[in-house]
Symmetry: C3
Subunit: 169 residues, 3 copies
């Protein structure tokens, strides 16, 4: 029996209303459920912050410093005046991974024409992969599930797995 | 009967030859016609500038300062040495909206393999959404029409509509 | 009989192991073979550098200064800690061409879900088009071939061909 690697995951809900306790956070729990299909994923922390660049940036930097493998954010990726999750994320990542966000938007277009409005970004900060997801629980899950099949390989490479990408299994 | 919101729109044609009067501007009028299907869209201004970063930037900043809701540019998004519309646009926007340009290119690929050469960008500057479109009248219309169904929702959110994206209608 | 324009091409293999002679470079030769279908393409130089930002940047700047029309890189576009080819490329280009990388990833998704992990970028530096490709020989060829039909037009425009993009042939 092979060992399944353990990936530590943190989930950040970005929402003024959820941060004020005026709305129940449904997206965080929805993502937690989707992650059960990512073998070895262990959610080690969750937080809720308002739609504020500094608050988002601070939460992301905290988890990067802790060496969390994967950070998922939900919310703040749209056109509303206070939607700034992508801008906060760009401040933290040092290597962008645009393919993840492109593929999520393309998959999401099969569900809704509004998919094109997502401004989500993805990228790497040190050894942490950060992925922005939309704010609605259903859209957040649909987006994550579109790229989930690629995450074990991506996270393994990020941790320094030296196997060749093009080599046969 | 419901009120249809009014969206103010400005159209910028970017072309050395059109700015010099050596070519008739066909793309601006073509876009104006496409916009008739966007309920409530009112074209409030149009201009023609040469392929010059400062001229483009100046026109965009003027309309952002005036609070125009939507600015469409046509031309200057390709590989020619003087094509700099995306660079001028990036100087003005403070929040990029890559999903719009991605979706337009993907839709355009159904018409021509040259779609991959579009360097168009989209983004938000204060309360103004700026979208780069190609220079040919037909491509400009095809690109715009690919994202038109999402624009009412995007423009409403940009103006501060507090409805939840994920809530049922 | 029409003259076929000559496009000068340089190929950069980015790989620590290939640079150390510990692995044979198979991707460079694979790309050379794909280019035989690009009429007029002449490979004028090839090099192998390690996964080091300065080494990659130096090779790219050398070819830009020489006026090479097209530079293809292979390798260093993934999630491994030393994968920095996109970051080195962004330092060199002055006009990004995101449509090329988007289309390559979308086409690559038909072959493998790992396509979303490619962080490849494309862009223009002066008169040189630089395109990042993945490191595996097969993926590098598949990616290049997805955009090859658009390259003659793109390279002609880059060299200043004044024909209208939207005009009939």
């Amino acid at each position: 029996m092979m060992d399944t690697p353990v990936y530590t995951v943190a989930i950040l809900t970005v929402s003024d209303r959820a941060a004020q306790g005026r709305r129940e956070d449904l997206s965080g729990p929805a993502l937690r459920e989707s992650l059960t299909t990512l073998a070895g994923a262990t959610v080690v922390d969750e937080a809720i912050v308002p739609d504020d660049v500094s608050a988002i940036e601070g939460a992301l930097r905290h988890w990067v410093a802790q060496g969390v493998d994967l950070v998922l954010t939900t919310g703040g990726t749209g056109f509303a005046p206070r939607d700034v999750t992508p801008e906060a994320t760009r401040r933290v990542v040092d290597r962008e991974a645009p393919g993840l966000s492109e593929a999520m938007r393309a998959a999401s277009l099969a569900h809704t024409p509004h998919a094109v409005l997502s401004r989500a970004v993805s990228g790497i900060a040190d050894g942490t992969l950060i992925i922005n997801l939309p704010g609605s629980p259903r859209a957040a899950r649909e987006n994550l599930e579109a790229i989930l099949p690629a995450l074990p390989h991506g996270l393994a490479k990020l941790k320094g797995d030296p196997s060749e990408c093009g080599s046969p299994p």
